[in-house]
Symmetry: C2
Subunit: 247 residues, 2 copies
Amino acid sequence: MRAFDISDAARDAARAAGIDTVERLEELLPADVAIVATPLASVVTTLAALVERAGSTVLIEVGSLKAAVAVFAETAPRAVRIVGMHPMAGATTAGFAAARVDLFRGRPFLIVPTARSDASAMAVAGTVARDAGGVVTVCSAEVHDRAMAVLLSAPLAVASALAVTGVQAGPLLSHAGPGFRDTTRLAGTPLDLAEQLLSANAGHVVAALAALRAALQELEGAVADRDRDALRRLLARAAEVRATLDS
Amino acid sequence: MRAFDISDAARDAARAAGIDTVERLEELLPADVAIVATPLASVVTTLAALVERAGSTVLIEVGSLKAAVAVFAETAPRAVRIVGMHPMAGATTAGFAAARVDLFRGRPFLIVPTARSDASAMAVAGTVARDAGGVVTVCSAEVHDRAMAVLLSAPLAVASALAVTGVQAGPLLSHAGPGFRDTTRLAGTPLDLAEQLLSANAGHVVAALAALRAALQELEGAVADRDRDALRRLLARAAEVRATLDS
């Protein structure tokens, strides 16, 4: 196994931990598998830097959105093999020192085929995921990115909107209980990450937020109309969906 | 101290614990202070049943909304003393067996004067709150109920709307991470309580939800327009408000 990081400090730390590090990205090749784990904005440029010399290497990228990789893969050389993977796990810490062997244990790994994924490349990606302790689910880039808008971006947006609305509680805001605190927790997401979660998947995010506003407006209408049955129906549906997450 | 509960079982349990219980509500009087702790819908009827014989008793009700009590107090006999109190603490358990001496320790107690609160009644309420371990804040019924719409009802509504929207994640919904789970937690609020939190304070709740939808629409517009500056400004404002709750 060989590793590369653009940070000198990260390479030094990895080397000190006994990992065979190289000084340039391209020196990772040749290899059976290369895992591209960069910030989202650098995934495609890193894949592009590798495809020339990739040969039969399976390139696995682990970014949190898949549309740009899907587009890139369609125009990549025919012989190249690229598979998307999204390990749904993470920590607020970063860098080599924050690495944990149990980070991925039992977590969902979404594997997303591209126009350059063949059966053996998918099998290799599945093995990598399971070796890390992940539980594999396969889905398309479209299904993946739409789901991320709902599961990652929409909660951030409602938490932020609710926090902003909180100022209307005036001096009592500081007495907010656990309900308000939990529901606004994501409003404290670091600004760069929050901006990326909303803007990097803009099409799906706008659709998810529009659906969310419609659901909220339906609730608000039932309250305004004193329509007890409609209100209970909406709340019961929400509780039912939420209950599926408790099992 | 004497206690009354409409439930025979609760009175028996209290009696077994050494509390002097009475068989009818009115037998609580005469007393220096009577604390009315009933479901919200019964607060005013219970106060009405007590005012006839209340004399100089300070009647303290601990319901979670204050508008109805404010209206009732305005037409109550001149000599009666009524003070609203809202201990912002609670548990999902209920009944005598769930009583805990530390439930209120360090929690905010909002004290809400009515048209039948005089200075000495307010002082008595303050003593009761502090004796229970509470930290006292005084506010008007209007400020109180508006804040509750923002702090209690709005989080429930967004959690429910987000849960409903979750079905758009399709089969990936079951892979939702802690962000989605925390932000939708309140969607699991018991149905009767959820309905009451939204409908019993309908005017303020509709206003809070309209403000929330406007904030969400602003975020959605910034995403749709790829307006990076506007998006960061909104997210930064939300983070700033949320940060005030962390101290």
